[in-house]
């Protein structure tokens, strides 16, 4: 695959690893947060941790839209799907995510709800057109990447007069969450590690542009390197971050120049701005309420808003109090520090956000990396 395989070359990776080892100052440590689940996945899937020196530590951030969706929103979707007239369309990622009391869309489907996995918002539109007697609701989640396709589907539904199509909107924004982490690095008085820089999102940046991260470099004096999701992209970004730290620079650099420009995708941003507006606050699972971090449909498009059409009531549900996702997402603790990890909380029975999707910090460690814990223990 062109533009994929060449960024997965293990031989180049080992040379970059050597360059990283050489650049990293042994007298200090480096804590970098990769915000995106896509980076977390690449790091775990390709075993990048094995290629980094011990004093370069990656903190897995909250950038997985499945993980951060609060339990209450899942409960709302399940309630909606159980209405006899509703066909709920969703990306496959959401099917297994647990709501309250062990409920999930997969279980609701087994109980008779009409829930269909789709690849694209356009598939949901096609279902609405083919089955006019059904109320077709698209369960929309995702960051700035996934939002423009939802916006276009809503505009197309209006243009085609599809009155039976609505969207249950759960789209969230990246920069407010990063701001939240930087403004509140501690949790319940426990201080987090000082972050030495961020690996900025790949495809989110393709839409919003690398300049969207400039405030973090300026205000919070954080080096940021926007990076692609292939393993060599991540390795190169880590090396660039180390060099910024060593040089005392705090800039936004763009490693993913083949797909990301400073201003991003102007068309996509305009489509989103036309259809959506900011919510005052939106809850992030494991993180709590983050101001101005979620989107809802503008009044002009209220006919396509499932929350309006079905008068959906907010449901608020709490996570297991023993869950450490909040501290893990801030880099204060590691997955293995959580009492629930691997006991009550596994990918089969996730209790907290970090275990929900394979991009979550705990799930990635459980699925790909937990052999290292045993190796460490055996050495000790």
């Amino acid at each position: 695959m062109k533009y994929v395989d060449e960024y997965r070359d293990g031989a180049v990776a080992r040379r970059i690893a050597a360059a990283i080892a050489k650049a990293a100052d042994p007298a200090r440590s480096y804590h970098f947060m990769e915000f995106c689940g896509g980076h977390t996945h690449a790091i775990s899937r390709y075993g990048l941790e094995d290629l980094l020196p011990a004093n370069v530590r990656m903190v897995h951030g909250p950038g997985c839209p499945v993980c951060v969706l609060p339990v209450g929103r899942i409960d709302m979707a399940i309630q909606l799907a159980l209405r006899p007239e509703v066909t709920l369309c969703t990306y496959g990622d959401l099917m297994r995510v647990p709501g309250s009391h062990g409920a999930s869309l997969l279980r609701a489907k087994a109980a008779g709800a009409d829930i269909r996995m789709v690849y694209s918002t356009l598939d949901a539109l096609a279902i609405a057109a083919a089955e006019p007697e059904r109320e077709v609701v698209f369960f929309a989640i995702g960051f700035e990447t996934t939002t423009p396709p939802t916006a276009l589907a809503i505009k197309l539904a209006r243009a085609r007069g599809l009155a039976n199509f609505t969207v249950f909107c759960n789209h969230v924004l990246t920069p407010p969450a990063i701001r939240g982490i930087l403004e509140h690095p501690d949790l319940d008085g426990v201080p987090g590690p000082r972050l030495d820089g961020f690996v900025g999102p790949a495809h989110v940046s393709a839409v919003i542009g690398s300049e969207a991260f400039a405030p973090f470099a300026r205000e919070f004096e954080q080096p940021v390197v926007v990076a692609g999701f292939e393993p060599l992209d991540v390795m190169q970004a880590i090396l660039m971050l180390i060099r910024q730290v060593n040089d005392g620079r705090q800039e936004v650099e763009n490693q993913y120049i083949r797909a990301v420009t400073p201003e991003g995708n102007v068309i996509a941003k305009a489509e989103v701005a036309e259809v959506f507006e900011l919510r005052d606050s939106f809850e992030w699972r494991g993180f709590g309420a983050v101001p101005l971090s979620g989107l809802r449909l503008r009044d002009a498009y209220r006919d396509f808003d499932a929350e309006q059409r079905f008068a959906m009531a907010e449901i608020s549900a709490a996570d297991n109090p023993a869950c450490e996702c909040g501290t893990i997402l801030r880099g204060i603790k590691r997955p293995t520090d959580c009492k629930l990890f691997g006991t009550l909380c596994t990918p089969e029975t996730p209790m907290g956000s970090c275990m929900v999707s394979s991009e979550g910090a705990c799930a990635a460690h459980w699925t790909y990396g937990r052999f290292r814990d045993h190796a460490r223990r055996n050495v000790a």
Binding site: M1, K2, Y3, V4, E6, Y7, V12, R15, I16, A18, A19, K22, C36, G37, G38, T40, H41, G63, C64, P65, V66, Y91, Y119, S120, T121, L122, D123, G142, F143, T145, T146, P148, P149, L152, P201, A202, H203, V204, A206, V207, F229, L232, D233, Q236, L239, Q255, I257, R258, A259, V260, N265, I267, A268, E271, S357, E359
Partner: protein, 77 residues
């Protein structure tokens, strides 16, 4: 996690749609979000939409830089 992959545009279709090929696998996607897409372009595909075009020159530069970083490390050994 914003799974998105580069695919080659092989045919432009009506209604701002296009057929793309990803390593020989075909898929019809929307190109409504990217201006002036042409056959032969590589676009980054996410949930059935092209999000951006891959810049071949920048891609080449990244690879050259990766190779150079590696060589520097080799030379320093």
């Amino acid at each position: 996690m914003c799974l998105a992959i580069p695919a080659e545009v092989i045919e432009l279709l009506p209604d701002q749609m296009a057929r793309v090929s990803l390593g020989g696998v075909g898929k019809v996607i929307s190109v409504a979000l990217v201006e002036g897409v042409a056959v032969g372009d590589y676009v980054v595909v996410h949930v059935g939409f092209a999000l951006t075009r891959i810049d071949p020159e920048e891609a080449r530069q990244t690879l050259a830089l990766l190779a150079e970083m590696g060589q520097l490390a080799e030379a320093a050994r």
